[in-house]
Symmetry: C2
Subunit: 343 residues, 2 copies
DNA sequence: TTGTAGGCGTTATCAA
DNA sequence: TTGATAACGCCTACAA
């Protein structure tokens, strides 16, 4: 009658515990989960047997029965970009604290792969999907959402983005005022390509707007195919040494900063004497660089834990604790890479 | 008879597809999985219905039946350390390519948490557990291993570590010879604390041994509680400006480099004139730093993909393709932060 | 070539 | 307070 049992894999199951404890599987389940009645005697016997056998309830069986996988999916636009690491870490820590486990999926900057990854996460029946950045195919995502996938988009309208939006705009304003105070009137805002995600678009707009407000001309610069320090350096030199020279460079992404810095070295541009430098995103390296880099930083880790904790409260039916407002603070940190503009 | 169906969650299941396609669930399963017979007609109808309904087989159900979760666990000693990112990425990519999904668990440098995480991964019934670094509690791990958890330890005796071991030792030798050639006879090897993991221990020993071989005195320096650039700077200054001065600093971990560099700036130590600098681990920032940092680098990403691909071949019963030897190459990359020792 | 049916490990209902 | 039992969604041996 046992039709092809896919071979006993040596895992201790609830029946083994039940047998060892001299009770039924139902009692084991109740005793261990804490839900339902169980006499102290039963509890003790079950706990002992369970520990002795090293029993760990199999998640697949449990999930099947409860329709909860105790799993959170995390879709990362591109794991090659280290900015997502603090976010991943934050999600993992919050999940860990509440008994959840995190499944990471890297979209590798590909729409096709993103869709494939979304399908897989959906197939895993993750209890929720957290987006580490803007998805490439919103329509596809919405379809899965309608199919029952719970999605948390920190940048989206349902996220706590209002706070973030205002604070990043605020920090950008500080940055621009700082530059204006130091006499800068023409700057370059450098990005790899046209801004894709919401964050990037808002950031770009914030820079443009803030600059206009303080009377700075902000020139958007797209790196495009230029990936070599020499190429980029030539371009920067053109900007910095033109008749209407740019006196500061704002780097739109932390991961872009090393390239830009190498480019400056290659072109022999001195920071900050010849040109000031600011980048979005902070790190130990940015602080260790000489001159120390001025940055606009936000605490992505705190942000991720806050979002995830909130999410889990929802999943578990608890009261969502008030989100830590500090989690969304964005600030401009002036350091040595910004100086008075040459006149 | 339906005793508490945990509420229909709106997920399309195999029966929905069967009904829509006018066939049985068995046929749906066969048609979609490709295993077993199914007429072309049936295949078409099933495919159509499946696509139309957006059917994705639920992993928990499938896992329960097949005892394969199509899931790989990744235990990271500490996600705060960016060195693990390329490794994570490599595992994820290899997994992705073969239909697996990755569950990350961060041990946060805590033995207690590590155990908790291991339990969770085991409970998830991951098909295999990959270690991104040395585990803190080997005994605990072994217990789970005996309980049926498949563990891949890249540093362990069953891993492809022989190659790695020899090549990292080789690169370390190159480094030391390079230093000796430039007239260095006293160097400091800086680590946060006493080496814990196997990698760290072997590295430490390799540095000591290689130095001895080429006639360099290698002084092990443990940072301990010193975390502030000023404190560390004082210590470095003491070393560099003593009567028997150290003329080069070898940094034992990439994540330690920014602190050391800030310390040098704080102490006014000029690199490389007054003191040369080398670090283990490469990054864009190391190359962008001025002077560009000499490093010992290895391709952790390639390493991770190779290991994972091999693992999956094993899991899937394929022939393990020959491991790409380049995946384990470790090399010394001299750049500008190393110069002739002052005499 | 297809359908029927049993069971993977777990939990929740219901009867005892 | 406990135990027998029926599902959860899926896959596959077997019968048709």
């Amino acid at each position: 009658m046992n039709r092809e049992p896919p071979k006993r894999q040596g895992h201790v199951d609830i029946r083994d515990v039940a047998r060892a404890a001299g009770v039924s599987t139902a009692t084991v389940s109740r005793a261990l989960s804490g839900r339902g009645y169980a006499s102290d005697d039963a509890r003790r016997k079950v706990a002992a047997a369970s520990r002795r056998l090293g029993y760990q309830p199999a998640a697949p069986g449990r999930s099947l029965r409860t329709t909860r996988s105790m799993t959170i999916g995390l879709l990362v636009p591109d794991l090659a970009d280290p900015v997502y690491l603090p976010f991943l870490r934050g999600v993992e820590h919050a999940a860990q604290q509440h008994g959840y486990v995190v499944v990471v999926a890297d979209a590798r900057s590909s729409t096709t792969l993103e869709r494939r990854q979304l399908d897989r996460l959906y197939a895993q029946r993750v209890d929720a999907l957290v987006l580490a950045g803007s998805p490439r195919d919103r329509a596809y995502l919405r379809r899965l959402q309608r199919a029952g996938l719970m999605v948390v988009d920190p940048e989206g309208p349902n996220g706590p983005s209002d706070i973030r939006r205002t604070t990043e705009a605020h920090a950008t304003t500080s940055l621009c005022e700082h530059l204006a105070d130091l006499g800068h009137s023409r700057i370059a805002y450098v990005t790899r390509g046209a801004p894709r995600g919401r964050t990037a678009q808002r950031r770009s707009r914030a820079v443009i707007d803030s600059c206009r407000k303080v009377g700075i001309a902000a020139k958007p610069v797209l790196l495009g195919a230029r990936r070599e320090p020499d190429d980029v350096g030539d371009m920067l030199a053109g900007l910095v040494r033109s008749r209407k020279p740019v006196t500061a460079v704002v780097c739109g992404a932390h991961s872009l900063a090393p390239l830009l810095l190498r480019a400056k070295s290659a072109a022999g541009i001195h920071v900050p004497d010849e040109c000031s430098f600011v980048t979005y995103g902070d790190s130990d390296w940015a602080a260790a660089y000489r001159p120390a880099l001025s940055v606009v930083r936000r605490d992505l880790y705190a942000r991720a834990t806050a979002i995830t904790t909130h999410l889990i409260a929802q999943l578990d039916g608890h009261d969502p604790h008030v989100t830590d407002p500090d989690a969304h603070r964005v600030e401009f940190v002036p350091r040595d890479s910004v100086a008075r503009a040459r006149s």
